[in-house]
Symmetry: C2
């Protein structure tokens, strides 16, 4: 349990077949690889969608590098009978299979869960889809954008007088990928006790529902119709100050959850005289006078820099944060010092920043980042070394368009 021990990675020895595409499946497999699992990324002959975009260069290369570090990569054509046999051979030697194809695709290919459990009853088969493997919306096509629409995210993002808006990051892809990781590891834990594998399933749209807790609370209440989109204010318009305020070099977020935050903020602002002002005397009063409260705060922030406000926040224990742009985030001294972000030399992108796993296991050194494998880079290593095929057999598979 001590940080100075050097224990093995927690998932050491776990073998994963990663059929994941884009973000959702590959992120679950990334978390496994970074916890020490042996992850084989299996792609169609032309590569998974992000690989194809990688070939175009520009902005699409970095995601491939971010999510596929510490995995080996092979190609496999599942539209051939021989390809399906090879997948079964891999699955028979593996603990986990991850796929985020649309419902029914694996069955149509002849490598559905039922078939793979016959090959390996100890398998953890992990399916991630947009809407799930059952239900009336099962077959709706799903991407991060459409799930943000259907799940409710868009309806609560944006300003009251503006249209519904998506969250900028691909939150639906990633929160569902994270749930998928949790489901897989839960089934692996169970298998240690029971010896049995299991099918686990995650639907993107369902992983969003809990995140709407505050917003749903307003629907449930008898306080009348829920507030419209609230911009940067509290989703229930029930806390003040709670907003993003302009300052000299950008914006800062400030929130006062308890009265001590407000009284400390008054001190930081040099506005102690407002302490007994009835408009601001408690949270309920400030909510009633929300525009005036925000104006008082903005009067202070607008003449300061983000750094000055952040320093005042430390001194007075205020929950604030600068609104950072992505260049600042990518170069965060904090995340680099913690090893969450690492500089690596990438075969095509040069010197880039890649993330480590946000899952931190004290007592084991973090795994170092590395370039993602090239398309099919480990074909000989896996098909030869793991499945025992000869060089000439592998050559024939390549000539036949199987790998």
């Amino acid at each position: 349990m001590d940080d100075d021990e050097a224990r093995p990675q927690p998932l050491q020895g776990v073998k994963v077949v990663d059929l994941g595409q884009v973000y959702q499946g590959p992120y679950a497999a990334f978390l496994m690889a970074k916890a020490g699992a042996d992850v084989i990324k299996v792609e169609p002959l032309h590569g998974e969608p992000v690989r194809i975009r990688e070939a175009l260069g520009g902005g699409a290369s970095l995601p491939m590098a971010m999510l596929n570090s510490n995995k080996r990569a092979i190609t496999l054509n599942l539209k051939t009978p021989r390809g399906c046999e090879l997948l079964k051979a891999l699955v028979s030697r593996s603990d986990v299979l991850i796929e985020n194809y649309a419902p029914g695709v694996m069955d149509r290919l002849g490598v559905g869960a039922k078939t793979l459990f016959e090959v390996n009853p100890r398998l953890v088969y992990a399916s991630a889809t947009g809407y799930g493997l059952s239900g009336p919306e099962r077959d709706s096509l799903a991407m991060d954008l459409t799930v943000q629409a259907a799940s409710g995210i868009m309806s609560v993002t944006g300003f009251p007088d503006g249209p519904p808006l998506k969250a900028g990051p691909a939150v639906a892809d990633f929160i569902s990928g994270t749930h998928l990781y949790g489901a897989i590891v839960t089934a692996l834990f169970e298998r240690e006790r029971t010896g049995l594998g299991r099918m686990v399933e995650v639907a993107m749209v369902e992983t969003i529902y809990p995140t709407l807790a505050s917003n749903l609370g307003m629907i449930q209440s008898d306080l009348g119709p829920p507030p419209p989109r609230t911009g940067n204010r509290h989703g229930g318009l029930a806390i003040s100050p709670y907003n993003v305020y302009p300052c000299r070099d950008g914006h800062v977020a400030i929130i006062c959850l308890v009265e001590a935050h407000w009284t400390n903020l008054l001190k930081a602002m040099g506005r102690g005289e407002l302490k007994d002002d009835p408009r601001f005397i408690d949270n309920a009063a400030r909510v009633t006078h929300m525009d005036e409260t925000d104006a008082v705060v903005e009067e202070w922030t607008k003449n300061l820099t983000r750094a000055e406000i952040f320093e005042a926040s430390r001194a007075y224990r205020l929950p604030t944060a600068p609104v950072r742009n992505l260049v600042e985030v990518m170069n965060s001294p904090h995340m680099h010092e913690r090893g969450m972000l690492q500089w690596i030399d990438h075969y095509s992108l040069g010197r880039i920043v890649v993330p480590n796993s946000p899952l931190r296991y004290h007592g084991t050194p973090q795994m170092m980042g590395a370039s993602n494998a090239r398309l099919g880079e480990h074909n000989r290593e896996i098909y030869g070394g793991v499945l025992g095929l000869s060089d000439s057999e592998i050559d024939a598979l390549m000539a036949d368009g199987v790998i």
Copy 2:
């Protein structure tokens, strides 16, 4: 592996002490409870922050019900030496402790990880914080709003001509809570093999970084400065159509990822004559003529309802989705049919909808939702039945303000 078996829940027999507050820690413990773990929610004598808000009624009650179903609840004053002893007694009989206090709080109380590992070397100690247990920003106060600012979410959410904006749901709280669950179960898996417990750690700000993959890609590219906030358009302005379009009764999200989507969309719109129009001939052309592309799509959507567009999307295999409001989401026939959403009778809220776990374990029935426990509801059951205290000892603890 068959769905018609009825296997036990995968985490059956796992005992969890849940000191979690608000969303992050309680959500990780919720996922454990819904996978069959025995979760004891431990609260200060006046309740955790969401419990306090629950007492105020209105919108704050539902989150308490959503995240604390299937847990037992006790009170415990960790600011008393006897309270700390009781926590240690509980930990000695448990597998997991979850806490999302600020860094250092548990140590100051005298029940930090080191102390608890002395009590139980097999413990999985799970810490979730805003910025992590190390690094220069460790002690910055963190809530969902401030982490959305510091992590980069706000900088990429909103319109190009508008200010930075938060995502409406509490995505930072929940995505970090989901990661926390993954870290805990990983350590439980490992413990089955090694017999050793572990400290695991998750920092909110770090769990956001991977979600920015598309957006970070633009920073990394040599295509010039990254695009500003892009509203509902693609974060890298590299795909078109990719937007939210007004229709007769709201909005719909439409995305064309591959050329077949576009040609099918043209058919659905009855605009086959545009198939060979050089402005729309491929994605690159449509990106160059993004405003015109969006105008063509909007010309079609504006005269239709969301339902009509959704039906056309099924017929033509288009990735679209209606922008749903929260009343629609809460009543989703799809999620109710799948058991993700359940109606329950709540002791104070009456008939409400609560979520099940988004983690689905095929072969085991979903756990039914139930009212969250009242503050201290299981004090006698736990302190008596589990720790073996007598009724009079429990009475004395209550009189002394320990429980």
